[in-house]
């Protein structure tokens, strides 16, 4: 961490988005994470994504659980809503928030400990409910906050900083998400922002649960030679299955974008995705093929990255539960609290 505040000066030629805001207007507090933490780079990518999508800061809700990753909401969009909740319980809190106000753009930020160990049940059920949110796992394969024990995403055979070998199997959040019925599954790397920013923008525009697993090296406990989540290992073994472009709604898709080979996916929330595949045998819309393909890559010791699976059109929690469009906060008091007579009627119906 640093002890001086980030100076308030900014570049006079800094770009402005449709709302007239600059990237600096989407900043948050000064990070207290270790210098060089992948999480901070993801924060930078998030700032760029929400800036480029011109999301009004007051229309965003940032949610997190516990862990290094879960500090992230404090470091961007200082004027947005935020809730730093209980370890592994962020999906429940998000469910409640989404139920009472479906109009905010929810961004949940979790880690491999928060989502794959203590919160794995909540994580799976959030996908089952198809909560309308972007769900990021800042995945470093290590419990950094408790000094470097293996986490549930640590690969078999990888070593801890002092040399101990991990003998247990890893849970791959992408395989888990595809298998759990998630409609948008991607993997990025904190050190590759040209890939990550379009993925974030696509995830934010997807209606339903969008899960992005972002490999995010822990510089303090997991950036050494035996690690499979280090900067160097990820750069050497990342296998991008394709390049994802997010195309905003107002932009007409032209041939120059390389549409020839590209797979186009219209997003419910506006805009579309152009997936320019690097590997022709891959089909991001076939759930079982995706599972088989990813397992094979994993077997080769490769880390498949990019938009791994996408399926638009699934009903999200709001539709499934037939919740009202109007946020509770906007309902007139008489409708929000119809009185004891209405309660008595309801109880009579349940007798």
């Amino acid at each position: 961490m640093s002890y001086i505040a980030r100076p308030k000066v900014s570049h006079p030629a800094l770009a402005r988005n449709e709302l007239g805001l600059t990237m600096r207007d989407y900043e948050g507090g000064m990070s207290t994470l270790c210098a060089g933490c992948g999480h901070d780079s993801i924060t930078g990518a998030l700032i760029q994504a929400v800036f480029e999508l011109s999301i009004p800061p007051h229309r965003m809700g940032k949610l997190s659980g516990i862990g290094c990753s879960s500090k992230t909401p404090a470091y961007f969009a200082a004027s947005s809503h935020g809730f730093n909740s209980v370890h592994g319980r962020m999906p429940s809190v998000s469910t409640g928030a989404a139920a009472v106000n479906g109009r905010l753009q929810y961004i949940g930020i979790s880690g491999d400990g928060d989502s794959l160990s203590i919160g794995v049940g909540q994580f799976v059920h959030a996908m089952r409910r198809n909560l309308n949110m972007l769900y990021l796992i800042e995945d470093n394969g290590v419990y950094g906050l408790t000094k470097g024990q293996f986490s549930a995403s640590a690969d078999t055979g990888s070593t801890a900083k002092r040399g101990e070998v991990n003998e247990q199997q890893a849970i791959d959040p992408c395989l888990l998400a595809i298998a759990s019925g998630c409609g948008f599954v991607a993997r990025g790397f904190s050190g590759d922002r040209t890939q990550l920013v379009p993925l974030l923008k696509a995830g934010l525009s997807h209606r339903g649960f969008a899960m992005i697993d972002v490999i995010s090296p822990c510089v303090t406990f997991n950036d050494h030679e035996g690690s499979t989540k280090s900067y160097r290992f990820t750069r050497e073994n990342a296998y991008p299955i394709g390049h994802t472009d997010f195309i905003p709604p107002e932009v007409e898709i032209k041939a120059e974008l390389g549409v020839g080979e590209a797979q186009q996916v219209q997003l419910h929330g506006g805009g579309s995705i152009l997936l320019r595949k690097l590997d022709h045998e891959y089909d991001a819309s076939d759930r079982s093929a995706a599972l088989a393909y990813l397992s094979r890559r994993q077997g080769n010791g490769e880390v498949a990255t990019g938009l791994l699976f996408v399926e638009e059109g699934g009903a999200d929690m709001h539709e499934l539960a037939r919740l009202g469009e109007t946020p509770l906060a906007d309902l007139p008091y008489e409708r929000l609290c119809p009185g004891s007579g209405a309660l008595a009627d309801l109880q009579d119906r349940l007798r």
């Binding site: 980030r6 990237m23 210098a35 060089g36 901070d40 900067y231």
Partner: protein
């Protein structure tokens, strides 16, 4: 792009915009830090090393450092560098024991310095401590040159001038006042000097030969008129005065007129605002005193009746301005302005009627001596020129730099060494890291706006000719203003092999000056940065290929506020903050054959090889 060669002393020197812009390369950020610490005497001595006259220049320097100050690009107003210099001079206390002295044993070399102005005095300052026997010839009765004759006392008090000149003159210098050199040939043949330095300035005011010019005594040439005022030969002027020209001399003339009894002073400009030669602050100061600046009026004739000046006729001008330049102009009418006196302040030039043209000193077709821009030697060996005498009117700080360089040439010439083989400047780099998140400078950004200078009230300042208008900063104001300095000499230094490309520096930089990107040609790379780098005057700092992806780290130097956050956030110390110290060789380094060591220990860059670029005066 090729990786930036930071071993070239020019690279980091250029990042320190103020020091790069200062002809004498004064170590501005360092002296500002000394002022911030209240070490005024140290700040004064550091200043004196390069610019010799801190108290004088702290008041009347043309401040080439301020328009280029990075702070002026990051926000609107640059750091008040010049006025901070004055603070160091005002509050320095007794520094006599730290001043250079002349040895009692001389080195047997005699040098004549013609003209006792800033250029000659600088040469004397540099050569006297080496044991030279120095004779200064001055045609007037007092030393100082234009600093005394052309700069009014309400801007530069006489005591300040005398005190700083005395620091030099007390070094056994033979100052011959009222001694005009009438023949260069005679001096060279009969003077018995080993070398001669000409620092006679540009003493001839330009004429304006329009009808009526010589029919009255009420038309004055600006610099001559100022000189008469300075020596007390003149103490009044008419009520209505027109000043022709809008340079800094015009500003001194109009403000001096007000102090001699004029109450309606107009500065007549041929061109519109934006084309004036006067510095903005001098214009502001004149307008504060209710001087009217009349634009687009071109002088046509003087109206004189029976030897008495009635006024002047001007052509009314109209200009077509394209891209900030005058593309075309036309006269749209005429206007008469009544007045009692006219002062011509339209420029000045050198004059050498006393230099014979057949003694090997060549003059070009504008009758300006041919002088080498590096050595300051004329076409005759052993005769050197400096200050305005060399290349025409500039300002004091240029004359000082000419003096330093000429002193080196004179020394080498007197000792039979080739004067073109000069010691190159060097650059010292020293880590500024003192501990975790602890730096040897204050890296927190001071948001305060530029401190305003207090002026003597308008009621009081006109009572006497020599009431100083600017009151100087108080220690409190100086401390605040000093914090506005961005410490550009605390350099961001990058070690590519250490970088793990985590983006921490890119994200934390408040002014978005860092980018990790695939390499390319400069034009292309400048457009691909986090914020495109469109200020082409400012270099890109490009790293070697980064170890993991072969991309490069690119820093646009333009708006870096040197906050050090990139270095604080770097997990591998690939970015480091290091203090650069420019090592400028002076004649005593040449004499001792010992390159400057600086205050930071061993020099690192540039010095080992003679191929390092030699600084040129231009």
């Amino acid at each position: 792009m090729q990786p930036t060669d930071i071993r070239n002393p020019d690279y980091f020197h250029r990042v320190v915009d103020c020091q790069w812009g200062c002809p004498a390369h004064t170590d501005i950020p360092e002296y500002i830090r000394l002022i911030a610490q209240g070490r005024y005497a140290d700040a004064y001595m550091l200043n004196r090393k390069s610019n010799v006259f801190p108290a004088i220049l702290g008041r009347v320097c043309d401040r080439p450092c301020e328009p280029v100050c990075r702070r002026g690009r990051v926000e609107e107003k640059p750091v008040a560098i010049c006025r901070l210099k004055r603070v160091a001079a005002d509050l320095r206390g007794d520094i006599d024991h730290r001043l250079p002295t002349a040895p009692s044993e001389k080195n047997g070399k005699r040098v004549a310095l013609i003209g006792a102005g800033c250029a000659s005095l600088t040469v004397a300052n540099d050569l006297a401590p080496l044991g030279y026997e120095l004779v200064i010839y001055e045609s007037l009765d007092k030393p100082g040159g234009l600093m005394r004759t052309n700069i009014p006392a309400f801007r530069l008090p006489v005591e300040v001038l005398d005190e700083e000149m005395d620091q030099i003159l007390r070094m056994d210098i033979d100052l011959r006042l009222g001694h005009e050199i009438k023949s260069m040939r005679d001096l060279l043949e009969n003077g018995g000097y080993d070398a001669v330095f000409v620092g006679t300035g540009a003493p001839k005011g330009k004429e304006l030969n329009l009808p009526g010019r010589h029919d009255t005594k009420s038309i004055h040439i600006g610099i001559e008129w100022l000189e008469s005022v300075a020596f007390g030969h003149l103490d009044s002027i008419g009520e209505r005065v027109l000043i022709i020209g809008v340079g800094n001399t015009a500003m001194d003339c109009c403000r001096t007129s007000l102090r001699l009894g004029a109450n309606d002073v107009k500065v007549m400009a041929r061109k519109p605002r934006g084309f004036f030669k006067a510095s903005d602050w001098e214009l502001e100061d004149a307008e504060e005193e209710k001087v009217e600046i009349v634009v687009n009026h071109s002088p046509k004739e003087f109206v004189v009746e029976d030897g008495k000046l009635k006024g002047m006729v001007f052509d009314l001008m109209e200009y077509d301005i394209v891209d900030g330049r005058i593309a075309d102009s036309r006269i749209t009418g005429q206007e008469f302005f009544p007045c009692d006196d006219v002062i011509l302040a339209i420029g000045q030039e050198t004059a050498f009627p006393w230099v014979e043209r057949d003694i090997g000193i060549d003059f070009d077709r504008w009758d300006v001596p041919v002088v080498d821009r590096v050595t300051y030697e004329s076409t005759r060996e052993g005769v050197f020129f400096g200050g305005d005498a060399a290349f025409g009117p500039e300002n004091i700080i240029w004359a000082v730099e000419h003096g330093h360089q000429a002193a080196i040439s004179i020394h080498k010439y007197c000792h039979g060494e080739p004067i073109t083989e000069r010691m190159p400047p060097g650059m010292n780099l020293l880590a500024a890291k003192m501990g975790i998140h602890e730096w040897s400078y204050s890296n927190d950004y001071e948001t305060a706006p530029r401190r305003a200078m207090q002026h003597m009230s308008l009621e009081k300042r006109f009572r006497k000719l020599d009431i100083e208008v600017e009151l100087g900063f108080t220690p409190e104001q100086a401390a605040r203003e000093a914090q506005r300095c961005l410490n550009c000499d605390i350099q961001t230094v990058f070690e590519a092999p250490l970088c793990i490309e985590c983006d921490a520096c890119v994200d934390i930089c408040p002014v978005h000056c860092l980018t990790i990107a695939p390499n390319g040609e400069e034009e292309d790379l400048r457009e691909r940065l986090t914020v495109p780098a469109r200020n082409l005057d400012q270099p890109l700092y490009v790293s070697a290929e980064l170890p993991q992806t072969a991309r490069v780290m690119v820093k646009d130097e333009d708006l870096c506020v040197h906050c050090g956050l990139c270095a604080e956030r770097c997990p591998t110390a690939a970015w480091d903050m290091q203090k650069s110290e420019l090592l400028t060789p002076y004649v005593h380094h040449e004499a001792a054959d010992q390159p400057p060591q600086g205050s930071l220990g061993k020099r690192k860059a540039g010095a080992e090889t003679k191929e390092a670029p030699v600084r040129t005066a231009a």
